[in-house]
């Protein structure tokens, strides 16, 4: 059976524009005749023609993002199919938002390999909870007391905890799809980092 258009794109084969038969660099638009194509079934990585891995080159992601944005943005499609352009643009912006953020990117990778969502598995190690709780109290105390030095040192501590968890997440995300155990560990680390993020925003 011949591969479908989407499968061909996944395999990295060059696609042809249905309208002008020209080659297409992006699955979403034709550079020659400016035709747009729906992104049904394409994941965030595929929108940018990137391999689904944790380690992506931020400069490359940005370059692809700007390039595809130029192709599909409603500003350049005000006369044609503006609804498709609007939805593609929204999808692209969402994909970029997720992939540009190391935590959201790991979360997305976990979702792609069929890992549990935050709703399905809410587990957080008790020591993460107690550390976060303690730090928060100390930060509040330091703030009430106007103790800038204590505030600074607790802030540094909170950032260090965050960085450590992020490193764990990166390490686990690189192993995806991994086994059930590593997916569960990634899930727990992702649940944990939410507490650390919240602490940092409170600083």
């Amino acid at each position: 059976m011949a591969p479908t258009e989407t499968e061909r794109q996944r395999q990295g084969a060059p696609a042809k524009c249905a309208a002008c038969a020209g080659p297409m660099d992006s699955p979403l638009f034709c550079d020659h005749c400016r035709s747009l194509y729906p992104a049904d079934g394409l994941n965030h990585f595929e929108l940018f023609g990137l391999a689904p891995t944790y380690d992506i080159d931020p400069a490359l992601l940005r370059q692809k993002y700007l390039q595809v944005s130029r192709g599909v943005h409603p500003d350049y499609h005000s006369t044609g199919d503006s609804s498709l352009s609007l939805h593609l643009s929204a999808q692209l912006n969402e994909a970029h938002r997720v992939l540009a953020d190391p935590v959201l990117r790991a979360e997305y990778l976990l979702e792609l390999v069929g890992g549990k969502s935050a709703k399905e598995d809410k587990s957080v190690p008790p020591e993460v909870l107690s550390t976060a709780l303690l730090l928060r109290e100390e930060i509040q105390e330091a703030r009430t007391a106007g103790d800038a030095a204590a505030l600074e040192s607790r802030g540094a501590q909170a950032r260090a905890v965050y960085e450590r968890t992020l490193a764990t997440i990166a390490e686990l995300a690189r192993q995806m799809p991994g086994d059930e155990r590593s997916r569960a560990r990634l899930r727990t680390a992702l649940n944990s980092i939410k507490y650390h993020q919240k602490l940092l925003t409170e600083l």
């Binding site: 700007l66 500003d75 609007l86 929204a90 912006n93 938002r97």
Partner: protein, 637 residues
């Protein structure tokens, strides 16, 4: 250009509005014969007399007569648009016109018993700009890009779009002012050498001109810039990445209630306080409020270039209030306002995950960015002199014209990627704000949420859509109530209704809903808050259609004749009141000028000449008008 149809760019400002267009050479401001592109965002309504209906004046004329006509002169309407009365209560003591609550928590303006919506007033300004552009370009203008403060919420954006529709303009895009400025900056728009010299006017206000010193070289390859936009009524800070022709907003912060008006009020408060202390009189009469406003504005502008401003108010009955305000004193008064803008800059930097040292250029926009203290503090924050080479009054309109060129297909070398300034969400059970789209998300953007029913056979679901950053729904802004109707009757909890919240490139929310089990689209009934219904917008548009269809020349002739009548009549009244303060020779000359202008107006067909003479008349009676303002003070207090 697409269909050969021109799209103009409009900066609809709190104090001044401008219209611009782009051609192959770049963007251009449409200027009056004095070289001034600014149209004061002021509307005056003169009461009808006998069989003459009330007349509307717009721009410099309305502004010039503000003191004589305080209750029927509307200014700073941008601070009211898309808001409720409770939102603007701090403004009310400073307005010389009456404001009342309208339906659906809107603000209305009451002039001689007739209610006007802020959309209607804005539409009058837009219409004036449209006609100005049509006259200059010689073709009908039906489409526009209109700028709004980046921090405008959905209701304010919708209201601005409605004002455009009411002015018979298709608003093809709403863009943010700082982003527009960045667009103009990004393509290296240079200050025009033909820039305005003097503003036209019956009461000429000394406006500080933009200085030409620049804060650094213009580097177009990948830089991060901050646009600091302090206008007449609003403040925005936007952090942008300019790269490969794409201007991407990384974050924005602001206050739609912080601008030049507030700087003026700091001076007004000082003067009113001292007058009360010294003479035991309070400044409350509309004419006095209006005159004080003009005085405060002039003082603020004077202190931009001078170390002190001196003024004198004759309060009548041998009471004279004299005052010298030094720049240092003024800076002391407004420092809290400036610090608020600096704090907002810090918020924007934090949201962009950047430090001030990452900013390669700080671009100043808006008339108030000329204030030396503002320049100093912005320079300190970003550790570099701000970039001031662009005229802060004009750069936003130029950017709007560039965006218009993009949308018309004229330019394909630039793209704007903007963000939503405030988080969007829905009220959840228990009155919390459930955020669906976070602030500073790039637009267009989209979020979906699933809903179900609580009762068997329920066919409708009501949602309260909110905008804001606070945790509780009641602390956020209610954009409107969305009622999903026509759900197929099912047992409670069975329907799966997917609601799509889509923010388009205008930053305006569009909602669609679908019941997934049946695949049936649910209809959505929207009750907007702080805005007009479609019917109301249509009504305003119908009301104003007669203007749109009228032959432009005939319309202009009527306007000019009315203006001649209005100006000469005012001058006659003023002569009667304060004429004795003039030399005999001056009085005789003005008498003669009045008769000559009236006669010429009746006889001529040359409208441009009539306009020139009307303007000259305004200049020759300037001294008299100033005496009139002083007189108003004596009467008012």
């Amino acid at each position: 250009m697409d269909n050969g149809e021109i799209i103009v760019g409009i900066d609809l400002g709190t104090t001044f509005s401008l219209v611009a267009y782009a051609d192959a050479a770049g963007p251009h401001i449409v200027r009056d014969e004095h070289g001034d592109g600014r149209v004061p965002s002021v509307i005056g309504v003169t009461p009808g007399t006998g069989n003459r209906p009330p007349q509307v004046t717009i721009g410099w004329t309305a502004r010039a007569h503000a003191v004589e006509n305080p209750q029927a002169t509307v200014y700073s309407v941008k601070r009211l648009i898309g808001k409720g009365v409770a939102d603007v209560h701090e403004d009310l003591p400073y307005l010389s016109y009456a404001v009342a609550a309208g339906p659906r928590d809107t603000v209305q303006i009451d002039i001689n018993g007739r209610r006007y919506t802020p959309e209607e007033i804005s539409a009058l300004i837009l219409r004036e700009l449209r006609e100005r552009a049509e006259k200059h370009l010689g073709v009908p203008v039906r489409k526009a890009v209109i700028t709004v403060p980046a921090y405008f919420d959905d209701a304010q954006r919708q209201a601005t779009r409605d004002a455009g529709r009411a002015a018979d303009l298709e608003v093809v895009r709403i863009i943010n002012e700082p982003t527009a400025a960045a667009l103009a900056y990004g393509i290296g728009v240079r200050p025009e050498s033909t820039a305005a010299k003097t503003p036209r006017g019956h009461v000429a206000l000394p406006m500080a001109r933009c200085t030409s010193e620049s804060g650094g070289a213009l580097d177009q390859t990948g830089q991060t810039v901050a646009v600091y936009d302090l206008g007449g009524g609003t403040f925005d800070i936007s952090i942008l990445r300019l790269e490969e022709g794409v201007s991407q907003v990384l974050s924005t912060a602001g206050d739609t209630h912080l601008g030049g008006d507030d700087f003026d009020r700091a001076i007004i408060n000082l003067i009113s306080h001292e007058i009360r202390e010294r003479f035991g009189v309070s400044v409350s009469a509309p004419a006095t409020k209006q005159a004080l406003r003009t005085l405060a504005e002039n003082t603020k502008i004077r202190l931009t270039d001078h170390d002190q401003a001196e003024f004198e108010l004759d309060l009548g009955r041998d009471r004279v209030y004299r005052r010298v305000i030094t720049r240092a004193e003024f800076e002391g008064l407004v420092a809290p306002l400036v610090e608020r803008t600096i704090t907002l800059c810090e918020h924007a930097l934090k949201d962009a995950k950047l430090h001030s040292a990452d900013i390669q250029q700080a671009i100043l926009v808006g008339g108030c960015s000329r204030i030396p203290l503002v320049r100093k503090r912005v320079g300190e924050l970003f550790s570099r002199p701000p970039y001031t080479a662009l005229n802060p009054d004009e750069v936003v309109a130029l950017g709007a014209a560039l965006q218009a060129a993009i949308l018309s297909g004229q330019r394909t070398d630039m793209l704007l990627l903007d963000v939503i300034p405030l988080s969007l969400g829905i009220e959840t059970m228990g009155g919390a704000m459930g955020k669906l789209i976070l602030r500073n998300t790039t637009i267009p953007c989209r979020a979906t949420e699933m809903f179900t029913t609580f009762v068997d056979g329920q066919t409708a679901i009501q949602l309260n859509v909110l905008q804001g950053e606070r945790e509780l729904a009641r602390d956020c802004r209610l954009l409107g109530q969305f009622e999903l109707r026509g759900l197929p009757p099912m047992p409670a909890g069975m329907p799966k209704v997917e609601v799509e919240f889509l923010i388009d490139a205008n930053g305006i929310l569009n909602v669609a809903a679908k019941e997934l089990r049946s695949g049936q689209a649910a209809s959505i009934q929207i009750v907007p808050n702080h805005g007009l219904t479609r019917d109301e917008v249509d009504q305003i548009t119908r009301d104003s259609l007669r203007f749109a269809r009228a032959d432009l020349d005939a319309h202009r002739r009527i306007d000019l004749l009315n203006q001649v009548e209005f100006d000469t009549q005012k001058t006659v009244q003023m002569l009667a009141k304060v004429g004795h303060l003039l030399d005999d020779a001056d009085r005789v000359r003005i008498d003669h000028d009045i008769a000559a202008l009236r006669q010429f107006a009746q006889e001529t067909k040359d409208l441009d000449e009539l306009y020139r003479r009307l303007t000259a008349f305004g200049h020759s009676t300037l001294r008299l008008a100033e005496l009139g303002i002083r007189e108003a003070f004596k009467k008012g207090t």
